[in-house]
């Protein structure tokens, strides 16, 4: 084990160096670029055996990764934002073909207007594409999750692609302390990749990607849903194994000061760390607040979320993206869905949309959210629409103090 100062991008590149994938295909997009700069340096220095394919688009990046994976190779890629959007078609195919691809997604806002900074719109757009999604709070987690993801993806009872995400710039470009495992430890943890079906096994030819008609498509999709269920059962075991080699314990969710918390704030990614600081601060002031970080977002940790909310009196859910036209943001939808039909069905849940396009979320903003949740707890008045945090003009809208008119 070694301590290194690495940005999120560098941390994932370091993990990829240790994984030593057979094939990596990538196309540049900010803020993913530095990850690939670093990785191609490893290729240039002969520190990996990887065949690097510098493709002409993200669509081809994932397509080539799919081809390599189906061929029997361990294959990886990385992208952000528009790049992930361009991959959209192939995301579903990679999952449907059950190819254990690991992809780093450096979260960035989606156009229009164009914006290069961090939010979760890109990953949330792919949340139901059949990929496992793991969010990283910091560079350390980005590193650890990347290595764990290989094992999750390739587990014979799972065989699904995995996205490991981190917030663009906020994590990808922030240099932090990262504990890096020894190369040999990683190598033996991930093991050799030897899939049952591979194109390059010319003596046992198989057909990948046939046409399914009404008589088979549904069965294949049902089997795919089961793979996600298996992931939900098995990720726990792989996390446990990783704990043994690293001393770092990961779970589907990470509760913080939640045991006696009456007010719980749920979040994903880098904001979870900032929330912890605010929780400490408010606890010093005697407030019974806590936080719940969702690390594995797909499959959604339904039992854990239910369990950790069982003592709460009010819940806030932070969404760093908008589900346009829906009743609330995507994470909030999931949280509400798991509470539905339980004795917590009437638990007040307030949705906070924040940080779009990289808008900073400060401890002060989070404090305000906790104070508002306290108010909701006392008054019982639950806003039924998402609250937009840190948007100019929002106070006028909510208070309806001033007449406002949208200019078109």
């Amino acid at each position: 084990m070694k301590v290194k100062a690495l940005t999120g991008n560098e941390a994932v590149a370091e993990a990829m160096r240790q994984i030593n994938p057979d094939v990596v295909a990538a196309y540049p997009i900010t803020p993913q670029t530095e990850l690939m700069h670093k990785f191609t340096e490893f290729v240039a220095d002969g520190l990996v055996d990887t065949e690097m394919i510098l493709v002409e688009s993200e669509h081809s990046a994932l397509s080539a990764t799919v081809g390599a994976s189906a061929a029997g190779a361990r294959a990886m890629t990385a992208t952000s934002s528009q790049g992930l959007a361009l991959m959209w078609e192939i995301l579903y195919i990679a999952a449907g073909l059950r190819l254990p691809i690991v992809m780093a997604v450096i979260n960035r806002a989606l156009s229009a207007p164009i914006n290069i900074h961090g939010d979760h719109s890109d990953t949330m757009g792919a949340r139901d594409s059949g990929w496992i999604q793991i969010f990283s709070e910091n560079s350390q987690e980005a590193y650890d999750n990347t290595i764990i993801a290989v094992r999750i993806a390739e587990h014979p009872e799972i065989l699904l692609p995995v996205m490991v995400t981190m917030d663009g710039f906020i994590i990808s470009h922030t240099m932090e302390r990262v504990e890096v495992l020894d190369d040999e430890v990683v190598k033996s943890f991930i093991g050799e990749y030897n899939p049952k079906y591979k194109l390059l096994d010319v003596k046992n030819p198989v057909t990948f990607g046939p046409l399914d008609l009404q008589d088979y498509y549904f069965e294949h999709k049902r089997a795919q849903a089961e793979a996600m269920e298996n992931a939900y059962k098995l990720i726990r075991e792989i996390d446990e194994e990783y704990y043994k080699i690293s001393g770092r314990k990961y779970a589907y969710v990470e509760p913080y000061e939640i045991d006696d918390a009456e007010t719980v704030l749920i979040s994903l990614g880098s904001t979870a760390g900032t929330i912890k600081d605010v929780v400490d601060e408010l606890r010093l002031r005697g407030m019974k607040v806590g936080a719940l970080k969702i690390r594995v977002y797909r499959p959604f940790p339904r039992d854990e979320v239910k369990e950790y909310l069982s003592n709460a009196s009010v819940v806030g859910v932070m969404d760093r993206s908008i589900a346009f036209g829906s009743v609330c943001g995507p994470v909030c939808l999931d949280v509400k869905a798991v509470l539905q039909g339980t004795k917590m069905a009437n638990l007040p849940v307030v949705n906070y949309i924040y940080g779009l396009g990289g808008r900073d979320i400060s401890p002060k903003d989070i404090e305000k959210i906790f104070f508002e949740l306290e108010k909701v707890k006392i008054t019982g008045e639950v806003p039924n629409l998402p609250r937009y945090v840190g948007v100019r003009g929002e106070e006028d809208y909510v208070g309806e103090k001033k007449g406002f008119k949208i200019k078109n």
């Binding site: 065989l159 079906y197 198989v206 990948f208 046939p210 088979y216 549904f218 069965e219 089997a223 089961e226």
Partner: protein
């Protein structure tokens, strides 16, 4: 045709692990006309064989021996390309 399988009985990722299984799917029923060979006129030039879309001209040791009526769709290309000097293949209505 095989019985339809349940979702947990299928190979992972919709792969087909039986190479060339299509041979079990019979397309012969598509035919209206069928090719008939007059072996006495055939000189085994195999022109019909190379132009058959359905791999339905049976050749053994370089000799044309007949048609795979399980798969022949009756397109008539074989009769059409059969050289003028031999005209060993003719198309006849299926049930005659």
């Amino acid at each position: 045709m095989s019985e339809l399988k349940k979702w947990f009985e299928l190979p992972v990722g919709a792969v087909i692990d039986e190479p060339g299984s299509a041979i079990r799917y019979k397309t012969g029923s598509w035919r209206t006309f069928k090719p008939v060979l007059d072996k006495s006129k055939c000189n085994d030039c195999l022109i019909c064989w190379i132009y058959c879309p359905d791999n339905s001209i049976i050749v053994q040791d370089g000799k044309l021996v007949g048609f795979d009526y399980d798969h022949c769709k009756g397109c008539g290309i074989c009769a059409e390309v059969c050289p003028d000097k031999s005209k060993a293949i003719t198309m006849v209505l299926e049930h005659q």
